[in-house]
């Protein structure tokens, strides 16, 4: 399934958060990189229908998100920036809540819930209230919710943040398998070595503008250095008072 983003612009007040961004992801894993505040999460919110673009269009599998939000939302799986869990429910209850809304039967919802929680190492905590879960457990639950209805498009905001190494390896395997089956995956991350190995394509945002798209420069392979070439270097000033 295809993610098509054309001339998308979004401003907050006078500040342009996303500036005339155009790209298309037809399949595989696409990494969306940029410094904090570069506009990655805003762009993902526009792609998921959580925000409306001021200008431009977004289509998923040929459906315009603004015109047919319910159709598009049925096709996508999302790990949002806020993780998006129901705190008063347990891990399993969160998945049971969304399953029927994605037109899964109760039986299928339970079957997939068990499989996903086992895969992500959450089986023993399935009845634990989300409010008592660690950040990593919440992130894994959100990922399970995104995968539950076998979506054709995955939009993941920092899916590896706070995840332990072995679970990260599992998630990598799951995402690669999904991509092989034709799922289009767009994910943000600040873990550059991971992006080097995982993403078949990389987009870099800087102050809302798309400054690098690896698909447009096939001769260049993405490395961490590519990122630093396009994103401002961190200040090197030392704090003389720290530790004195």
């Amino acid at each position: 399934m295809m993610i098509h983003c054309r001339n998308v612009t979004k401003s907050y007040g006078g500040r342009v958060a996303v500036n005339d961004v155009t790209f298309t992801v037809s399949s595989g894993i696409c990494g969306l990189l940029g410094a904090n505040g570069a506009g990655k999460s805003t762009l993902l919110k526009i792609l998921t229908g959580l925000l409306t673009a001021d200008e431009g269009t977004v289509t998923i599998a040929g459906h315009d998100i603004a015109a047919k939000p319910a159709v598009v939302k049925q096709l996508i799986g999302v790990v949002p920036e806020e993780i998006g869990l129901f705190e008063s429910l347990s891990i399993a209850e969160n998945l049971h809540l969304v399953g029927p809304i994605y037109r899964l039967s109760a039986k299928k919802t339970e079957m997939r819930t068990s499989e996903l929680l086992e895969l992500l190492g959450l089986s023993s905590s399935r009845d634990k209230p989300v409010s008592e879960c660690s950040y990593g457990m919440r992130k894994k639950t959100a990922l399970a919710m995104a995968l539950l209805h076998n979506p054709g498009v995955l939009l993941l905001d920092e899916p590896f943040e706070g995840i332990d190494p072995s679970s990260s390896r599992t998630i990598l395997r799951v995402l690669r398998a999904a991509a092989r089956q034709g799922t289009a995956i767009l994910l943000t991350s600040h873990i550059l070595p991971l992006m080097e190995t995982l993403a078949s394509r990389v987009l870099i945002l800087k102050r809302g503008k798309l400054v690098w798209d690896s698909a447009l420069e096939p001769s260049q392979i993405f490395t961490s250095e590519t990122y630093f070439r396009f994103v401002d270097d961190a200040p090197t000033k030392e704090l003389t008072w720290l530790g004195s």
Partner: protein
């Protein structure tokens, strides 16, 4: 002491910022009940003594709500990291009450009604409640002792999970427990009193509906910003989410008011939801579990006046007033769907 003063200055700055809008006063519709009682009494002292048991039912949970109101404007993780001694923390909590606008309003009403002596007793009582809340938090380690809500089951249907979440939220607000107390008192009166006045039952049912009405302004108040975003990500129309939440609310109201009068309570409840739709979806007032719901005075007044009028009409004259309530509710559902679809509504 300097650290304590700095913390208090911060709390005051946060409170003052919030005072910029009327909706931040965080008042429950019960406040209107108190004001109504004050205005209606001729002999102040006698009226106070007569109404004392009733006021205790209303004030006790309200004091708990006030006790935490100011301090909870600061994230608990941050507040716990402040380098304060245990003694300073007790003082901060006690002083926190003085920064609560709701405390001064409530205290002012009591002083006007019952005199300075009773007002001082109120302040002492409020301080005692502060101490109790502090001690309880120390004993439980800040964890909620009410884990029974995890037994609220999932309901059938596509949106049964949304009803389940909503029920757990309603059951974790003090409004619900005050309504239950009123229902128990009213039901006992109905079935145990020698000659109960039949006219009193629907009035009590209305009072129960009024007690729950502030929650209707804050249907998403106990949701985290993340779960609100999740609702917006679901492939389902906004009005259906709202309907599922309303079903949970009306189910609770019907259950609690059933022994006293279903029709007036439901009439009031439908109007309360309809008038609470806008603040529910467009105001960003987060609520805290195990506290009273803090509403918006303007919408609270509307709920009480219009809800009361339509429910009274239903009780005294015609059942057409119930149809008016249903019609108003349906209109609010349509408006709610419109507000839901405006993307900024998810930003809370």
């Amino acid at each position: 002491m300097a650290r304590l003063l700095a913390a208090l200055r911060l709390l005051w700055a946060v409170t003052r910022r919030d005072l910029n809008s009327l909706s931040s006063l965080g008042l429950n519709n019960l406040f209107f009940c108190v004001a109504f009682l004050v205005q209606g009494s001729h002999d102040r002292e006698t009226a106070f003594l007569t109404a004392l048991p009733f006021l205790l039912v209303l004030f006790l949970p309200m004091l708990f709500a006030i006790s935490a109101g100011t301090l909870e404007k600061v994230p608990s993780v941050r507040a716990n990291l402040w380098p304060l001694s245990p003694k300073e923390r007790v003082l901060l909590r006690a002083a926190g009450i003085a920064l609560s606008p709701a405390f001064w309003l409530l205290g002012g009403v009591i002083v006007l009604w019952a005199g300075v002596a009773v007002g001082l007793c109120f302040i002492a009582f409020a301080a005692l409640v502060q101490l109790l809340v502090f001690c309880a938090a120390r004993v439980t380690g800040g964890e909620s002792p009410f884990r029974l809500l995890t037994y609220v089951p999932r309901f059938p249907g596509t949106l049964g999970g949304v009803v389940q979440v909503s029920l757990r939220h309603i059951l974790s607000s003090l409004d619900f427990y005050t309504a239950v107390m009123l229902s128990v008192v009213g039901t006992s009166y109905r079935f145990c009193a020698a000659k109960p006045q039949v006219d009193a039952f629907p009035i009590l049912a209305l009072l129960i509906a009024l007690t729950l009405s502030t929650y209707a302004q804050r249907m998403f108040g106990l949701e985290s910003p993340g779960s609100v975003a999740r609702y917006h990500l679901l492939p389902v129309a906004g009005w259906r989410i709202l309907l599922a939440k309303d079903v949970a609310y009306l189910g609770v109201l019907a259950t609690v008011a059933l022994p006293l009068g279903l029709a007036p309570a439901m009439t009031f409840g439908l109007i309360a939801i309809a008038l609470g739709r806008y603040p529910s979806l467009r105001q960003t007032a987060r609520q805290t579990a195990w506290r009273f719901t803090g509403g918006d005075i303007r919408f609270g007044a509307l709920q009480i006046v219009f809800g009361g009028l339509v429910a009274m009409g239903n009780m005294r004259t015609s059942h057409w007033f119930f149809a008016v309530a249903v019609g108003t509710y349906v209109l609010s559902l349509i408006a709610g769907d419109f507000w839901w679809n405006r993307s900024s509504s998810y930003h809370r």
